[in-house]
């Protein structure tokens, strides 16, 4: 097995964009090729595209060749699209990792993208409800916000977590996204503003929720030897983990404990030969404020039920135990489903290369990305290490 490194990154502007799915792909592709200046497109032998809901949100199938056309790439080794709802992007990265590690591919481009804003928001919501079992659970008007509202309700009920603690996650992540020109919400928010934002699904308010966002992100992967020739700072993928249960909400053993996340974290760290305490920063899937609180617990940073206290003590901020979501997270950047898992990796790589503004610079050597999907039944983890 060969070592696999990220040698280039590219982001387009995220938000409610006056741009189509294809144009989002072009923007992130341009940013990537600008970053790896001098790389001929012909050398990219593989393209993996993470995109969750193109059929429903952009009326478009066969997305990987569509993206190849936009980027001017003619893959000679591997071409595929991955769909795993909010983990679609990380799944594409994982497939590219496997292709390069085995020698099937030498240079692979990974793109995550999603066009989510349509002229009809209720049609978008209809499509989002298909992520759950549509005919059994989506049919009840169940989408992500009401599901995670019940998670928050149970966490408050079982452990005494407060809305103020949840709001602190939003305040922190928006403070970071305020320094991120690619973010959907590049603006700080106050505690008061989060707590008084309109109710979406109680106890979740608008600013407890990530946005409906258009966006794309890309990374370029190659094998260890080639990486050192392409960049001074290759960032190696050292560990991967994933664990899941089936998708029926009614059959989940618990709303507030995510054992599949614990498993994915354990496996990824073991593969990397590292512990959570070695990490210098982490990108966690804060689709809702309560998610990040539970993730502190499942990462082993806080005891079960004490995630609220962890944010209260500032432990997930710069200067705390582990800086989390310096990119601004899903809360600050928005959540274009297929793009998120790739953008998390982009942030860690750009941190290691000191390509981020000083207000959120952490740098370091080790980073962890966590991406979840559905009703938090599926979790994927990537552990990255800066090479020298």
């Amino acid at each position: 097995m060969r070592k696999v490194a990220v040698v280039g990154t590219g982001l387009g502007k995220w938000g409610v964009r006056s741009a189509t799915l294809k144009e989002l792909a072009q923007e992130a592709g341009k940013a990537l090729f600008d970053d790896v200046e001098g790389l001929p497109r012909e050398e990219v032998d593989s393209l993996l595209v993470g995109c969750a809901l193109a059929e429903r949100l952009a009326f478009q199938s066969y997305v990987a060749p569509l993206v190849a056309e936009q980027l001017g790439i003619n893959p000679t080794r591997m071409l595929a699209r991955t769909e795993l709802a909010c983990v679609s992007g990380q799944s594409a990265l994982k497939m590219a990792y496997m292709a390069i590690a085995t020698g099937l591919s030498d240079i692979a481009l990974v793109m995550g993208l999603e066009k989510m804003n349509t002229p009809d928001m209720s049609e978008t919501q209809t499509s989002m409800a298909c992520v759950l079992d549509r005919e059994w659970e989506g049919v009840n008007g169940m989408t992500a916000p009401p599901y995670f509202a019940m998670v928050a309700q149970r966490h408050m009920h079982e452990y005494g977590t407060t809305q103020e603690q949840m709001a602190m996650v939003s305040v922190k992540n928006h403070r970071f996204s305020a320094t991120n020109p690619y973010a959907h919400f590049p603006k700080e928010v106050s505690m008061n503003r989060v707590l008084n934002s309109p109710s979406i699904s109680p106890p979740l308010n608008l600013l407890d929720c990530s946005g409906i966002t258009d966006g794309a992100a890309a990374v370029l992967l190659t094998h260890g030897d080639a990486a050192k020739e392409m960049t001074d700072t290759p960032v190696f993928i050292e560990g991967l983990g994933q664990a899941a249960t089936g998708n029926l909400t009614a059959n989940l053993p618990s709303l507030t404990s995510w054992p599949t996340m614990r498993r994915a974290v354990r496996d990824a760290l073991k593969m990397a030969g590292a512990t959570i305490h070695d990490m210098d920063l982490a990108e966690l899937h804060d689709c809702f404020t309560i998610s990040e609180i539970i993730e502190y617990e499942e990462l082993g940073l806080a005891e079960k039920g004490k995630g609220g206290r962890f944010i209260e003590e500032g432990q997930s901020d710069i200067g705390g135990k582990l800086p989390i979501n310096t990119r601004g997270g899903l809360l600050g950047c928005g959540h274009p489903l297929g793009a998120t898992g790739v953008a998390q990796v982009v942030e860690v790589v750009q941190q290691f290369k000191a390509q981020v503004p000083s207000q959120r610079y952490v740098g370091g050597e080790w980073g962890l990305c966590h991406n979840l999907s559905g009703n938090a039944n599926n979790h994927g983890v990537v552990v990255l290490r800066r090479g020298s």
Binding site: S122, P198, A250
Partner: protein
């Protein structure tokens, strides 16, 4: 799901409700039982596991022989919330509405459903609820729970 006079036909890919007739699904007895006011599911004849949702193959032992059994019609709220904005198509007029996870009485079984008969503010965890059969405009049925 035939075209009937006065029934607005939603395009298939925007229609949330399962197709229920014998020509569409092998679990059609579930819907027939529901019209009779019964909430039922399948139990694997080979290993005895009660399966939710109803199945045609047992995910535990691969058995294909199923018994239909009645489930309790009463339960209590394990978790709930209110959908106040962002309803999918066809549900906008119902806003706000309550959804919840109901723990069925005397079983370990939970089901996700709409909760009728009370607003979010009036509910608390543990609230008793009972089955409500909801007829759809086109003759199909679905289950909800009510306070």
């Amino acid at each position: 799901m035939g075209e009937e006079k006065g029934v607005r036909r939603v395009p298939y890919l925007l229609d949330f409700y399962p197709l229920q007739g014998e020509e569409h699904t092998r679990i059609h007895p579930f819907f027939t039982h529901l019209t009779e006011g019964r909430l039922t599911t399948t139990r694997c004849k080979a290993c005895g596991e009660v399966l939710w949702q109803p199945r045609v193959v047992c995910p535990h032992c691969n058995g294909e022989e199923m018994d239909w059994i009645d489930l309790p019609q009463e339960g209590e709220l394990h978790a709930f919330t209110s959908v106040t904005v962002g309803a999918p198509m066809g549900m906008e007029d119902d806003l706000p509405f309550v959804v919840g996870i109901v723990k069925l009485r005397g079983t370990g079984l939970k089901v996700l459903a709409r909760i009728d008969g009370a607003s979010y503010e009036d509910l608390s965890i543990g609230q008793a609820v009972r089955l409500k059969v909801q007829p759809l405009e086109d003759g199909r049925v679905w289950f909800r729970f009510q306070v």
